[in-house]
Symmetry: C2
């Protein structure tokens, strides 16, 4: 998606050779026109698989997922990073390792919200090593649902998550894949 | 908003005399039709104040705020509960006390995203003691912005947040105000 590459080139801030900040439109401030285009792309890509649900993880993924929900009518579920006091029922959980924070955390989804036969689109803003997405896939599979597509706004192509998911045969759509960051330049995969 | 009261009566799960879970449509699973109606109410209520920005806090508030953003074109900003590694620039921060978790945490917003003259709508899913909203107000005021309205889906009328905000003169709109929970019954304020 050319459009998203342009936004990243224009508004992204290079922090290091591994990190581009897209705080101004994707994961701190949210620019509606950009979020809407991202959501539209995923809907166009995955509607044909008859999804029944959209799954994401707090926090930024909720914005994209919710816009998809509004446009398709599909319920949105977001995995929680901590089990809240009020989540008293039974949950699916999966351990994910955060490479930025260097710690393992579990993510949880109430068993009520992933059910046998659910056809799930997973969406998130970023894909790096793939931990969060693998955790979400694990949860869908625990619930005997099926992952029919994975929509990612920005994939870091120089980290292993995308490769891993494609090798496993998942239907992964990343709208912008950053190949490398060199100095003040961002290079995308075509 | 009668509609939201009905949803809470129908789908809310009473956990204790202080807590109703609305996990199935508002803060774990998100039901698009309900979120959209909530967003529409807030737009109807606050558009006349010429807002320039919508501010919320991760995570559930993002869903409502983003739908408002899509419909109005206004940028959405969500405060973060932890300062992420990538948030390297200067931030406004405010300490908020969580009565459920019994701990004080700071919330942060990058200084870039609240600017002098901003006319801000604050939205969140729940209002209880008001800590989160007071933290968000504090951040807007640090940035020399103005809070033109506060939209809350569910207010716990038996806790102090709503009263406090109204006394301070804020333009607070709560769509459903729970007056009390007794046994298996939820009573709303008219």
């Amino acid at each position: 998606m050319e459009f998203l590459q342009q936004q990243i080139q224009k508004y992204g801030k290079i922090v290091s050779k591994d990190i581009v900040k897209v705080d101004s439109f994707l994961n701190h401030q949210l620019q509606p026109k950009i979020i809407e285009k991202i959501a539209d792309e995923f809907i166009g890509e995955f509607s044909k698989y008859n999804p029944t649900k959209i799954l994401t993880i707090e926090a930024s993924g909720i914005a994209i997922a919710m816009v998809m929900g509004i446009k398709t009518g599909l319920p949105v579920v977001f995995a929680k990073k901590k089990k809240p006091v009020t989540l008293s029922g039974e949950c699916y959980s999966s351990n994910i390792y955060s490479y930025t924070k260097k710690e393992t955390n579990s993510i949880v989804v109430s068993k009520e919200f992933i059910q046998k036969g659910d056809r799930v689109i997973i969406v998130d803003d970023f894909l790096a090593m793939g931990s969060a997405v693998l955790g979400l896939i694990d949860i869908v599979e625990q619930g005997e649902g099926e992952v029919v597509g994975i929509g990612i706004a920005v994939e870091k192509g120089f980290q292993k998550g995308g490769e891993l998911l494609r090798e496993k045969g998942y239907n992964l759509k990343s709208l912008a894949i950053i190949e490398k960051i060199e100095g003040d330049k961002i290079f995308f995969r075509n």
